[in-house]
């Protein structure tokens, strides 16, 4: 078994073949390979560790159920990552408390008892509203195009561009203030 991890890691063809035959050890190997990257991605998008774990859980359960349908058109890591991103965005969209203002940039004040390590894991992203945070992460770090982000949220490309521009401006101002 390889020790490389992350979505860009190529999955061993033998492991994939075994997983497609419901081999438990092969599923464990896939989890070892992609879980950490998955948790990091889900945490950046969802902002809460428990929600991120739920999304990763649902994503792996679904991926293992659908693994027979994986035909290798895209690398396995990319296939899994798209599934996870969809899972996370669905969760964000389901959180009705945010849907009232899709254009919000600023995060609400963190509730008391919010874990410090959670805020550290988000860095400056913690200062953005969930949708704005996910747009920044998907565009800047995951290479998603505005069209894809817009489709995920059921919005227009100009919505995605506007959210990104305003969020980046806000974050860069924060960085400047911190370094000054």
């Amino acid at each position: 078994m390889h020790n490389e991890t992350g979505f860009s890691t190529e999955l061993d063809a033998a492991i994939l073949a075994r997983a497609q035959r419901n081999d438990r050890a092969a599923f464990a190997a896939i989890y070892d390979c992609y879980a950490q990257a998955g948790l990091a991605l889900a945490l950046r998008i969802l902002g809460r560790h428990a929600a991120a774990e739920d999304a990763v859980h649902d994503c792996f359960v679904r991926a293992f159920e659908k693994i027979h349908h994986y035909r290798g058109d895209a690398p396995f890591g990319i296939w899994l990552k798209r599934m996870l991103v969809n899972q996370c965005i669905d969760r964000l969209r389901a959180e009705t408390r945010w849907s009232a203002d899709a254009d919000a940039i600023d995060a609400l004040p963190a509730p008391s008892g919010h874990q410090t390590d959670q805020i550290e894991a988000l860095g400056l992203l913690a200062r953005l509203a969930p949708r704005a945070r996910s747009v920044v992460w998907l565009h800047e770090m995951e290479g998603y195009a505005h069209g894809e982000i817009a489709r995920l949220y059921g919005q227009t490309e100009s919505w995605s561009k506007s959210i990104l521009a305003r969020s980046l401006e806000r974050l860069r101002r924060e960085i400047q203030q911190e370094s000054a």
């Binding site: 599923f27 989890y31 894991a121 988000l122 860095g123 770090m141 860069r172 960085i175």
Partner: protein
């Protein structure tokens, strides 16, 4: 002035914000999460197996019921015959049995209606016969 694509990539790499985002701590994926995924997978697999077994059992049961159910044509003939002949206590019990069976097997409403008619006829003839029997006893 346009910046060449590869140069803009280099500039983007030096962007303090990108450096900040790329340097965010990576959380550890726990073994507890893997155990949870495993449990869910096993639970769902069991549920699917039960559903598949249940479906096979249901199909088998429907097949058995279809075979054991009386033919509607035969029932209609039987009820017509009952309607012409005087009924007895055992006849009434047989009709009741058939009615119950028809309800249990969700038989056609027409078939059920025919059985009810037969039962009404049977009860009326039984009642007439018991009145006549009473008279004989009194005599």
């Amino acid at each position: 002035m346009n910046i060449p694509v590869d140069q803009s990539e280099v500039l983007a790499q030096r962007d303090p914000l990108r450096i900040h985002l790329a340097g965010l701590p990576i959380p550890e994926a726990s073994t507890a999460l893997w155990s949870r995924i495993e449990r869910t997978r096993q639970r769902r697999r069991l549920r699917r197996q039960w559903a598949a077994t249940g479906a096979v059992a249901a199909v088998a049961m429907i097949a058995v019921l279809k075979l054991s159910m009386p033919d509607p044509a035969q029932v209609t003939q039987a009820t017509a015959a009952m309607a012409t002949a005087p009924a007895s206590e055992p006849d009434l019990r047989a009709i009741d049995h058939q009615l119950q069976s028809a309800y249990d097997h969700a038989a056609d409403p027409e078939q059920i209606q025919a059985l009810w008619l037969a039962r009404e006829h049977a009860t009326s003839t039984t009642a007439t016969r018991s009145i006549e029997d009473d008279r004989i006893i009194r005599l």
